[in-house]
């Protein structure tokens, strides 16, 4: 249990156990807590494709609901949920690779810049450059960077999410940072 501001706040793991026993209210609390982080994570993995990220987010929570019996206490619920999202994304990429090119995901456009201020325009240009840099990374490196940087997961949590040894996460992070630096340096204006 976690105590916050005098009120009793149940831990994710406690809620997951209750949801396993059929408490739908606990399941909804978990979904409420994790909607934003999971959407954010998938949004960045989807290269900013909002529609796809929303679809994937919905699928993550449906899969969470269906697969709750597979959750084993005391594994941290957070890493369990992120691993569902990661696997779903992996399945999507695998499926996309077997499809025709006309189904390739289209990211949100940074355009419509003609009506914006110069500062806003530069900001969007920078965001586009970062997105492009992340897109330039391999899927494994992108996952690692997004989990480490944007989701602020520890290396051991990332290892649990990606189901790889801690040493692999360390080397992936090192290589991802190096690649990212190279990409950003070459794309600097």
């Amino acid at each position: 249990m976690v105590f916050k501001s005098g009120a009793k706040v149940e831990s994710d793991e406690q809620l997951a156990l209750e949801a396993q026993r059929g408490a739908n209210a606990s399941l909804l609390v978990l979904a409420e807590r994790y909607y934003a982080p999971i959407f954010r994570y998938l949004y960045r993995l989807c290269d900013g494709n909002r529609m796809l990220a929303e679809d994937m987010t919905q699928n993550v929570f449906l899969r969470m609901q269906r697969g709750l019996t597979g959750y084993q206490y005391p594994r941290p619920f957070r890493t369990w949920l992120y691993s569902i999202a990661t696997n779903l994304m992996r399945d999507h990429w695998a499926l996309r690779d077997t499809r025709d090119t006309d189904t390739i995901d289209v990211p949100e456009q940074a355009g419509e810049a003609q009506h914006e201020s110069e500062a806003a325009f530069i900001e969007k240009e920078d965001a586009t450059r970062v997105r492009a840099a992340l897109r330039g990374l391999s899927e494994l490196h992108r996952q690692t960077i997004v989990l480490y940087y944007y989701e602020e997961l520890s290396q051991s949590d990332i290892a649990a999410v990606l189901d790889v040894p801690l040493g692999t996460v360390k080397s992936r992070l090192f290589n991802a940072l190096r690649n990212l630096r190279e990409i950003l340096e070459t794309s600097s204006p």
Binding site: R21, G22, A23, N24, A25, L27, L28, A31, E32, Y35, A36, F39, R40, Y43, R44, G48, R50, A53, E54, T57, Q58, F61, L62, Q65, E123, D126, A127, R129, V130, R131, A133, L134, I145, Y148, Y149, Y150, E152, S154, Q155, K170, L173, F174, L177, R178, L180, R181, E182, L184, E185
Partner: protein, 267 residues
């Protein structure tokens, strides 16, 4: 300091803690340029709505077992209860009538057979819908049958114990020897009847198999003892084969049901 800058400072600190040198994350500041996406509240609501379902209480194992037993109580034919009870009452009356003039303890002769006949009727076309329909319910046919077996055998056992206790009081004899006279044969014949009805998918076949086995046992004992027609199973050496045989027959019967289940599923 903006939220992104704060995050960047935290990540930088973590990288240092994780053993990275500042030169290794030199390109990192630019990542903050990609802001967190805004959350579409209507989509979030839609996701939460899709997870809504009526509250359900998952019963614990004891509750589940109780519910299963209650359900099977209604499935077992009323005739099974009545016939067994009637046979046991008959056994008590016969014992009271015969005891004294002969050494025959009639209840020990009747109770195993009555129990076996009852058990034989828990499986078969009269008691169960076809396997195809059974397989559509969430509880496995084996578990359903086990519940029914436990229920009917518990009833037989309770009646046998009650009758024995009554006779012990009336006839002023020791309880344990009387109990051992019929308990092991009852268990064995019930298991045999159960196996027979599963093997031949016919309740009457189960009754006949157990009846024949009991007849053979009694006749064999009669020729050896030259007096009593009730086999003497009070010795533990005589009981052991019956208990072992009963276990083996039950295992075989449940295995057969599993084979049938597998066969129907693969059709």
């Amino acid at each position: 300091m903006t939220a992104n800058n704060q995050r960047h400072e935290r990540v930088k600190q973590r990288l240092l803690d994780d053993g990275f040198s500042p030169s290794e994350f030199a390109g990192l500041p630019d990542l903050d340029r990609w802001d967190d996406p805004e959350i579409d509240v209507s989509h979030k609501t839609q996701v939460l709505m899709s997870l809504q379902r009526p509250e359900r209480n998952v019963p614990n194992r004891a509750q589940f077992a109780l519910t299963l037993l209650k359900a099977q109580l209604r499935v077992v034919q009323r005739g099974v209860w009545m016939a067994t009870a009637f046979s046991i009452v008959l056994g008590v009356i016969a014992t009271l009538a015969l005891y004294g003039s002969t050494d025959t303890f009639a209840l020990a002769l009747i109770a195993p057979l009555a129990a076996a006949a009852g058990i034989a009727f828990i499986y078969g076309p009269d008691a169960d819908p076809p396997m195809e329909i059974l397989l559509t319910v969430p509880t496995s046919p084996r578990l359903v049958l086990l519940a029914r077996l436990v229920l009917v055998f518990a009833f037989d056992l309770a009646l046998g114990l009650a009758a024995t206790a009554l006779l012990t009081g009336v006839l002023q004899v020791a309880l344990w020897p009387l109990l051992t006279m019929w308990l092991a044969p009852m268990v064995f014949l019930s298991a045999l009847a159960f196996f027979g009805s599963v093997m031949f998918a016919d309740s009457l076949a189960g009754v006949m198999v157990s009846l024949c086995a009991w007849f053979v046992l009694c006749a064999g004992y009669l020729t050896r003892s030259g007096g009593s027609i009730v086999p003497d199973f009070t010795a533990s050496s005589a009981q052991a084969p019956l208990w072992i045989g009963a276990c083996a027959l039950c295992v075989a019967a449940f295995w057969l049901i599993g084979v049938e289940e597998h066969w129907v599923r693969s059709e």
